[in-house]
Subunit: 201 residues, 2 copies
């Protein structure tokens, strides 16, 4: 298993470097379990699939606390057959998974229990279950989960938009990534999260 | 057929609204053939698949001419079975397609003929051929094309990075999107393009 994300943070201000550097310490609690590499376009994090969205959440909320319009963009992936197995990517929760309706109910329960962080965000994302004939069944199941998540905003062309507090929004994104598509299958997720936008929604 | 993209432009400066508004006229030559809708997170363009990357190129080069660090992020899609057919998305070039090695050679030829625009960019992207058992064959074929494109920078986890002039880089991205994955199949592409970054590559 290999799982992780390529993450970029875009603060829309002259001091964007300062905002990014000021937010990076939010990743400190995750550094022990992740491999982290940065270049001029993105930061790679490789580690357990269940911690990818909590790490992105904490990084983004720290940057958004600056008050400037800030966007996090990420390419998230698990189970890519072109990547080497890595022990640090072993899922924390193993075992068999139930049918689609059961996974939807469990995912909603986890979102309902997510801690509210006091940071409003808008998010949109696309889920790609790869190498599977019935990929649209998993996508439609995921959309069903999203509609009852409490943070569903609307369906858009090519993606789904969420809106609400960063806590339940990132919990919803994490479950979309973990609970749909085959457990050992190749699943990718393309994510944009925005805060403090001057544009009315 | 349905094809288009959700596009966002991120100028890293206090006057990000001014930079975005100043670049939008670059889309004027495309407006007649595209449906364009904007909200607080992204701008949707729906139209012919061959014109999606030229439109994004012209928008991005106009924004990068401001000299500020600017990033374009996009979710590009064609053939999604969950989207309605739209006559404006009819491919300009129809007809049968050849085997993988022929498509690679033709794609390289088109990139070699791309106009140089004088704007250096870094780009990274992931290609997702969906609903297909042999999706990795098309991805590896695409990577083969990219390595001989003249703008290949390196393979990264979850994505491929390009670097060079905006003309051949966007031509390479366009051919990665159009020439790989089944002609009528569901193909998505997750894109980040960056210019004027203060970070050394």
């Amino acid at each position: 298993m290999f799982s992780g994300a390529q993450i970029s943070l875009y603060p829309m201000c002259d001091d964007f470097v300062g905002v990014i550097l000021g937010a990076l310490s939010a990743l400190d609690p995750y550094r022990e379990r992740f491999r982290i590499e940065t270049d001029d376009v993105s930061t790679l994090i490789v580690g357990p699939p269940e911690e990818i969205f909590p790490a992105m959440r904490d990084l983004f909320v720290a940057a958004a606390a600056s008050g400037v319009h800030v966007v996090l963009s990420a390419t998230v992936s698990r189970g890519c057959p072109g990547e080497p197995d890595d022990p640090r990517c072993t899922p924390l929760a193993g075992g068999a998974r139930g049918p689609l309706d059961q996974r939807i109910a469990q995912a909603r329960q986890r979102v309902a229990e997510a801690t509210v962080l006091g940071q409003p965000v808008a998010a949109q994302f696309s889920l790609y279950p790869l190498g599977a004939d019935a990929h649209m069944d998993e996508i439609y199941g995921c959309i069903d989960f999203l509609k009852g998540s409490g943070v569903f905003d609307r369906s858009k062309n090519f993606c789904t938009k969420l809106r609400g507090d960063a806590g339940p929004v990132f919990a919803t994104l994490s479950d979309a990534f973990l609970s749909f598509g085959a457990p050992q299958g190749h699943v990718a997720l393309d994510l944009t999260v925005s805060a403090n936008s001057p544009t009315k929604s």
